[in-house]
Symmetry: C2
Subunit: 193 residues, 2 copies
DNA sequence: CCCTCTTCTTAACCTAGATCAATTTCATTT
DNA sequence: AAATGAAATTGATCTAGGTTAAGAAGAGGG
């Protein structure tokens, strides 16, 4: 297994919980390296999302397609973040979403069952995920509030401040959708500055 | 401690994780019963949210006030749900939010520090919260997608289906804010049906 | 290095829901 | 039962952002 990829996962785990040397081994051996080429799908609707992925390098988007065939992006994730369809992953029921690579991407993956095993061997990993989901939940509520009550301009400026790197790596069409607006509106917002 | 209140908390815990009889004792003795009168604040901005609360009976709303002095409700919680400002609770930093009782409300509360102690004594409780936050996160993303891409009418109908009881107990002004619209708009939506 | 496809921009027009202002209904206190 | 204040409705008007349509600018594959 690639040493650089390992280090990243453990580095982020150890930011939040204590992990012993033997546990490090156990964790690393439970994850499996995978990669996906740009424009390929990691998940498509009606499939069960079998894995949760830690992105070591690359970029992916999660989206769904409405009745009119329009894509709606609700997540864009880059290096050192987790991605999955948690609803499908934990319920083991068919997903509603796509997950697609926006760049050639390398990941570490683990299945739901393997993760359950790993929780037993490394209880602090469950603590890690408790903290991770807790923070993810707080962030999602923040984003909800911002979507409901801030103008598109404010949300754009905020994103520019919080995620400047995204603008370097992700086409504006996708960023627009993520912000909940049309590419035309985003273009007008950017022009005004 | 009131036996009815106890049972509810344990009932919901045991839906998701195994709890032994001795652990039940430990959990119950860690929580403290409190109550709050209608229209009183459980939390105000700049205070640290000291507790996480399990509502055994009653109803509360969480909201913030913007620069123009307008209230924006992002959470309405009733019987058998948790409420807190998780951001403040876990960081122990000042909150941005209000939590106010919409009815006379009874709760079981625990402080951040007590909860940490309890995690050590009852590891499965951390598992419970891992599952709770995971589900809360998935729900928040669903709500985000709905807010971004569904019409106000669709969101109203959906809420009517998912939370009919809320309409019995919560004034429409608050429901409007929770849906991300004005009371005037909600009134017009309801008229059309 | 050209060709095709994707991304981005611009302009004219449209609409869902906001804002403002007034009135009615309901609930709580005295 | 009256008085007061909060909640809900209604109508007129306004606006942020959507829709439609077209063209310009990039960029990756043959």
């Amino acid at each position: 297994m690639n040493i650089v990829q390992n280090n990243k996962l453990l580095y982020y785990l150890k930011k939040w919980v204590d992990i012993s040397e033997t546990e490090e081994e156990t964790i690393l051996s439970a994850f499996k390296e995978t990669s996906i080429k740009k424009k390929k799908d990691l998940l498509v609707p009606d499939d069960i999302c079998e894995y949760i992925y830690f992105i070591t390098k690359g970029c992916l988007r999660s989206y769904f397609v409405d009745e009119k065939g329009v894509e709606h992006i609700y997540q864009i994730r880059m290096d050192n973040n987790w991605i999955s369809d948690l609803e499908s992953f934990f319920s083991q029921r068919p997903s509603k979403y796509y997950i697609e690579a926006l760049e050639d991407t390398q990941m570490l993956r683990i299945s739901a069952e393997e993760l359950e095993q790993l929780y037993k061997k490394v209880p602090n990993l469950e603590r890690y995920f408790r903290i991770l989901f807790q923070k993810a939940y707080v962030n999602a509520l923040e984003r909800l509030n911002s979507t409901m009550w801030d103008s598109a301009i404010d949300r754009y400026n905020n994103m520019l401040k919080e995620n400047p790197d995204m603008f370097q790596r992700v086409p504006l069409v996708y960023i627009a959708s993520y912000l909940g607006i049309t590419p035309e509106s985003l273009s007008r917002i950017r022009k005004k500055k």
